[in-house]
């Protein structure tokens, strides 16, 4: 994956959390995802299409998700309720939308409506032909990760883990 696709997500997550939640985010070293680990309890998932295709996932442990959603909504919402899922979906929507606006050399990228998965220790499996970069994030409300598995439309697919590590 082109590394220039990662920086926009780092900037966007910090912008969204700072502006909507007044919550600073410390971003740690991005890593290539291995299998379906790490596992999480709450995931917001959004698809990208157009000049860039793939999937963006914002994943939390339950406690972190509850604290962050409470800050975002101004009230504590029960994990797993429709309103809770709506808030997680809106967060991944804003992060993805903000990031795609920062992509360079791409003319037309669309994002899908978000989906939200809630379930203890779930993993999200992604197509093996696109490397997935995990961006670990730390806040005063707990930790979470952004998983970015995207590539230019029409670009060659990655067949091996070595290729993925070389291009991340």
């Amino acid at each position: 994956m082109d590394a220039s696709y990662i920086t926009p997500f780092v900037k966007s997550i910090q912008n969204v959390f700072s502006m909507m939640l007044q919550l600073p985010v410390t971003v740690n070293e991005p890593q290539i995802k291995q299998g379906t680990t790490p596992s999480h309890d709450v995931s917001g998932i959004i698809g990208m299409s157009g000049d860039v295709v793939g999937t963006i996932i914002l994943s939390f442990r339950r406690e972190s998700a509850e604290s962050i959603v409470a800050l975002f909504c101004g009230e504590k919402l029960q994990c797993g309720t429709p309103d809770f899922a709506d808030a997680v979906g809106e967060l991944v929507n804003m992060v993805s939308g903000g990031a795609k606006a920062l992509f360079t050399d791409t003319n037309d990228v669309s994002i899908s409506c978000p989906s939200v998965v809630v379930g203890k220790d779930h993993g999200v499996a992604l197509p093996s032909d696109v490397p997935c970069v995990v961006i670990p994030c730390v806040t005063d409300c707990g930790e979470f990760v952004i998983e970015v598995a995207i590539r230019e439309a029409g670009a060659g697919v990655v067949n091996t883990e070595a290729d993925a590590n070389a291009t991340a």
Partner: protein, 122 residues
């Protein structure tokens, strides 16, 4: 003043509703997509509409195009994650009066609302 909020996210509608309340606007109707909005807008007759872009069933741009065929004057503000210049131009061509990119601060949204209402009243 009456405001219609069109967004598929209830969270976002609640955030916008609280900004409107802060600037003294309590008469608010909500719609969860373009189709829902078209079915409500005639009866509610809003003075201002805030509309998201990406929504299921009917997106914000399609709503604006349909709405502008029947109403060319009610102010419309697009409130969306779509931040690219090409999208802003597309929305303006379709008939929006102002544009707010998510994420936004309450101050920014209220400023854009006041600015839009002043321009449209002039």
């Amino acid at each position: 003043m009456k405001v219609m909020l069109i967004d598929d996210s209830k969270t976002m509608r609640n955030i916008q509703r609280s900004v409107l309340k802060q600037i003294g606007i309590d008469l608010v109707e909500e719609a969860c997509d373009g189709q829902d909005a078209l079915s409500k807008v005639g009866a509610f007759a809003p003075d201002l509409i805030l509309v998201d872009w990406n929504m299921p069933n009917m997106d914000g741009l399609s709503f604006i195009k349909a709405f502008r065929k029947q109403d060319r004057t009610t102010p419309l503000i697009m409130v969306t994650t779509e931040a690219e210049k090409s999208r802003v131009i597309e929305a303006i061509k379709a008939g929006v009066n102002n544009y707010v990119v998510k994420p936004f601060t309450p101050d920014l949204l209220s400023q854009r609302i006041n600015e839009t209402m002043s321009k449209c009243a002039a």
